[in-house]
Amino acid sequence: MGERPDNQDAGLPEEFIQWRDASIEGAKADVDAVRFVTSWHRFPDLHDVLWYRDVNLGEVLEWALTPEVIAILAARDEKGRP
């Protein structure tokens, strides 16, 4: 993602970056939503707290979070339209 300065990801685990920047086709809001919903819980500080009995409970919540995130990002893109 060209918008991000090179040093901004310093220290972030490769797995998180891969999910956040995953190669997905589709409308911008959908792509951003899937990337966000599948990556946020892999962010190291959150991951450690979400990890319960060998399960990442953030991963468990992906489906529940998806429509809300899509609504937010679709609204963002609508606003940005001329």
Binding site: A27, F36, D45, R53, D54, V60, L61, A64
Partner: protein, 553 residues
């Protein structure tokens, strides 16, 4: 201790049939996720509730830890480091995303922790071999599926509908195994990256009863209950839903209302032209306050839509009632098509047609047995041709074989048995078969089946001896014990035919085909009694709709 299955299918149609079939195949203890389901009790099926394994004293044992975690999560979400990782979002969007995360964590996080504890206790206290669910992306089931996988317990996701449209809600199939309806649905999941060897084609257990014709008089009975005239056409529209599963869907939040308004408008036009036609509007099966259907129907009545009703029947009764079924990219359309009804797929382009083009793509292809409607003006003419035009109805009937195979594989009414076989095979370990079933429920069923066989044998003996009254009595006794054998109905029909009770014989042959539409003797007998009753066309039409896969022409 018998092998246990944690079963979360009872909210979905077909779940009870699968449970019954599993119980007849092996010594399996059922633990159901749904605490309030009464279906097991009604059927006399033994089961335990998963709630029995919920941890005790959670206020002391779990809540403090969960609250601490939630506070830490809020802190993490508010941290500068986390914000930086998503620096491409503007501040206003970020604030809303944070709120969404807080909301979902508040609603779901704690209950997922509790469920995982319950699963661990359940696995410790039983011989838990498998988790079966109909929706493995919901937080509750996904937490259990993932935890089960960590402790070596496989899971089976039995899909609950043919997917179409937005795929953002199904980016993953966390279950270890997946039961789908047909090669077509298998390919859909393969396109999402699900490995072929995890996918099993079983057919849809909920559609088993759609493989044969409805039982005789069902439609008449439903009409009577609803105050409808069974001799006049009934046309129904199953409302679609709306949601935010993709950016396209978010752009059309009122797609379900616009489509419904268009259908009501067409119904009103047709109602003026055909005053005896009857029009049903079917709300979504779960509470959906976003479409004020009652108010819309009231308004339409004032505008001239006579004979309108709100259809809150169970889905099978609804499709059995309809002479023409309208829906929007809906599995209700598939069900109506399986039952031989002309189906109109209403996707008005101007109201958000592109919503159904993305992800999995549209439900139907160009060869499917549906009339597609893309413009408001096409609706009324499409309904008229589906009701009145023989050529249209014939074309739909011919296309049906392709659609049946595409959506429900062999459509032989045995999907519940195939899912049960799969469940049993996934529960067997180290090459050892499960013990023979010994539930009292299974024993009682086995005894009833045996008694039914004896009655049937007695009926055959009476028939051979020319005692047709005795044969009718004995075959009726057999059916009273066991309704799942098409031969008993066929035999009853034959005896009734011999007595000259042709109408009753007709009904018996239809009952036989309801159980097994491929039973050749019942098919031939229906034609024979149809000739006597001058209902040959009706018999021919019925035979052309059911038991048709694998037959020429």
């Amino acid at each position: 201790m018998s092998a246990s299955v944690l079963f979360s299918m009872m909210r979905y149609r077909g779940g009870a049939g699968v449970a019954r079939a599993v119980l007849e195949r092996g010594a399996v203890d059922f633990i159901t996720m749904e605490p309030s389901t009464s279906i097991f009790e009604e059927m006399g099926l033994p089961r335990q509730s998963f709630t029995e394994y919920l941890p005790k004293n959670v206020e002391q044992t779990m809540e403090p830890g969960a609250l601490k975690r939630l506070r830490e999560l809020v802190g993490g979400i508010q941290s500068a480091k986390f914000r930086e990782a998503y620096g491409h979002f503007d501040d206003a969007t970020w604030e809303r995303l944070q709120e969404a995360m807080y909301g979902v964590l508040r609603r779901e996080f704690y209950s997922c922790m509790v469920n995982i504890e319950a699963l661990l206790r359940c696995a410790a206290e039983t011989d838990l071999r498998l988790l079966v669910c109909s929706e493995d992306v919901l937080p509750t089931s996904r937490s259990l599926v993932l935890k089960a996988s960590r402790i070596g317990i496989p899971s089976l996701h039995v899909i609950h509908s043919v997917p179409c449209g937005a795929a953002t809600s199904h980016p993953a199939v966390p279950s270890t195994h997946l039961a789908v309806y047909s090669e077509h649905t298998k390919r859909l999941y393969e396109s999402l990256g699900v490995e072929s060897d995890r996918i099993f084609v079983t057919g849809n257990p909920a559609w088993d009863r759609l493989a044969g014709p409805p039982r005789p008089a069902l439609r008449r009975r439903i009409c009577h209950e609803l105050g409808l005239d069974p001799a006049k056409p009934v046309i129904t529209y199953a409302l679609t839903n709306s949601g935010h599963w993709s950016a396209a869907m978010a752009r059309y939040p009122e797609v379900h209302i616009r489509m419904t308004e268009a259908v009501i408008e067409a119904f009103t036009v047709l109602s003026r032209k055909h005053p005896d036609w009857q029009f049903g509007l079917r709300p979504r099966p779960w509470p959906d306050t976003s479409c004020p259907i009652e108010a819309m129907v009231d308004e339409a009545r004032e505008a001239g839509l006579a004979r309108a009703f709100v259809d809150r029947l169970d889905p099978y009764a609804s499709v059995a009632l309809a002479d023409v079924s309208l829906s929007t990219e809906s599995n209700m359309g598939i069900e109506a098509m399986l039952l031989g009804k002309p189906v109109i797929n209403v996707v008005v382009s101007a109201f958000g047609g592109d919503v159904y083009q993305e992800g999995f793509g549209p439900l139907y292809d160009e060869e499917d047995a549906v009339l597609p409607v893309k413009g408001v003006g096409e609706l009324a003419p499409a309904i008229e041709s589906a009701v009145l035009d023989d050529a249209t109805r014939t074309r739909l009937r011919r296309a049906r074989v392709h659609s049946i195979e595409r959506f429900n594989g062999s459509n032989d009414g045995k999907a519940a048995q195939r899912v049960a076989d799969l469940i049993i095979s996934l529960m067997e370990r180290d090459g050892r078969r499960l013990e023979h079933p010994r539930h009292p429920y299974v024993t009682a069923r086995s005894e009833r089946r045996e008694r039914a066989g004896e009655y049937n044998a007695r009926g055959e003996a009476c028939f051979e001896a020319g005692d047709f009254d005795g044969a009718v009595a004995a075959f009726s006794e057999a059916i009273g014990e066991w309704t799942e054998n098409a031969l008993f109905f066929n035999n009853l029909g034959t005896a009734l035919h011999a007595l000259g009770s042709y109408e009753l014989a007709w009904d018996s042959f239809v009952e036989a085909l309801h159980v097994d539409p491929y039973l050749d003797s019942a098919r031939q007998n229906l034609m024979a009694v149809g000739a006597v009753l001058q209902r040959e066309d009706e018999a021919r039409a019925l035979l052309a709709l059911f038991g048709v896969l694998g037959r020429d022409g």
